[in-house]
Amino acid sequence: MAELIGGLGTSHVPSIAMALDKGLRDSEEWKPFFDGYAPARQWMAEKRPDIAVVIFNDHGNSFFLDRLPTLALGVADRYRPADEGWGPRPVPVFEGAEDFSWHLADCMVEGHFDPLLCRDLDVDHGMQVPMELVFGRPEAWPVKVVPILVNTIQYPIPTPQRMWALGELLRRAIDSYPGNDRVVVLGTGGLSHQLQGARAGFINPEADREWIARIGSDPTRYRAMSREDYIEEFGSEGAELIMWLVMRGCMDAEVNTLHQHYFAPASMTGAGMVLLENAA
């Protein structure tokens, strides 16, 4: 059966992509941010996952408000980088783990999650940036991907509790998938930020550091919080952090936090990552 080899929580801030595109990786402002990802990148290179399940939100690029799925699942064999207004970024096309996606679609529907299934989907920075942070900018991505898109833009957004349950279901799907694929799960978004309204520019580094420190070892509080709690503590767009709960819910109760990193502000956002492995 397939094996879950680890879980990564990470920001997907678009200014990270812009910094890479402008060659600012080693600039004074950005070097400390990117350097903090080196251990996770090293881990990916050593562990060589076959499939990356990436949970992210579309930012008004693949979906518009005319029809906006609360939950969507990519079932395609490839995904192009989206045009977010500046033209598609020069990142490789993502090869889809089509067989696993359809297996997951079955598991989701049988488990009473009913996603929009997408066979022709461009993916925006929500997926591009996490992949670049841990795999760099290769000629071709070394893993196949499974995109899971969560609406975090138009209310009502799904609850944190639902995200955790989705993670538990994802784990069952991985554990029941025939073959020997090694699967890594990337929960993305956050950390604290707010882009809209008079509270724009809100960041909460203290809460972010607490999140980074505890999401692996003691996620109980975060699992119990309401959507409003997330918005108050992490800002309106910081509520994207609920997507890390899919990753955390997918892992064992007991995990080891192998690496963690925090940096603020990346543009207008608290940014960082954790890398988790099951303890047993």
Partner: protein, 116 residues
């Protein structure tokens, strides 16, 4: 922003705002394509005519008044595409919404003392 927002100064895209801002966000979404961007740049008024914007929304777009666009139902992820055809740094858009100049915004909100 208004007393109807559940969390102060935090305009969530709920039913009320999504309805109010639909045409504005749709206009901005049109800038996702090279054709839309070219049309906007060639003749902004003619491009805006394609959408059923209110007079106030149209004026806010013309003035690049980010705070007003959000007040009128614009969501940043959509209206940000205007900054792709008329470059405006995201932090300036943030400062405008907070009602601050950029240095004050960077210092008081983001804890930065330079203009970086």
């Amino acid at each position: 922003m208004t007393s109807e927002d559940r969390i102060p100064d935090t305009p969530l895209l709920d039913r009320r705002r999504a309805n109010m801002g639909y045409a504005l966000n749709k206009m901005a979404m049109g800038l996702s394509s090279p054709e839309g961007r070219a049309a906007f740049l060639a003749d902004e008024e003619a491009y805006l005519d394609r959408f059923e914007l209110s007079d106030a929304q149209r004026a806010a777009v013309r003035a690049r008044d980010w705070r007003e666009m959000v007040r009128l139902g614009g969501n940043l992820f959509f209206i940000l595409k205007i900054s792709a055809v008329d470059p405006t740094p995201i932090r300036e858009i943030g400062a405008a919404q907070a009602g601050m100049d950029l240095p004050e915004f960077l210092k008081t909100r983001l804890g930065k003392v330079t203009n970086g």
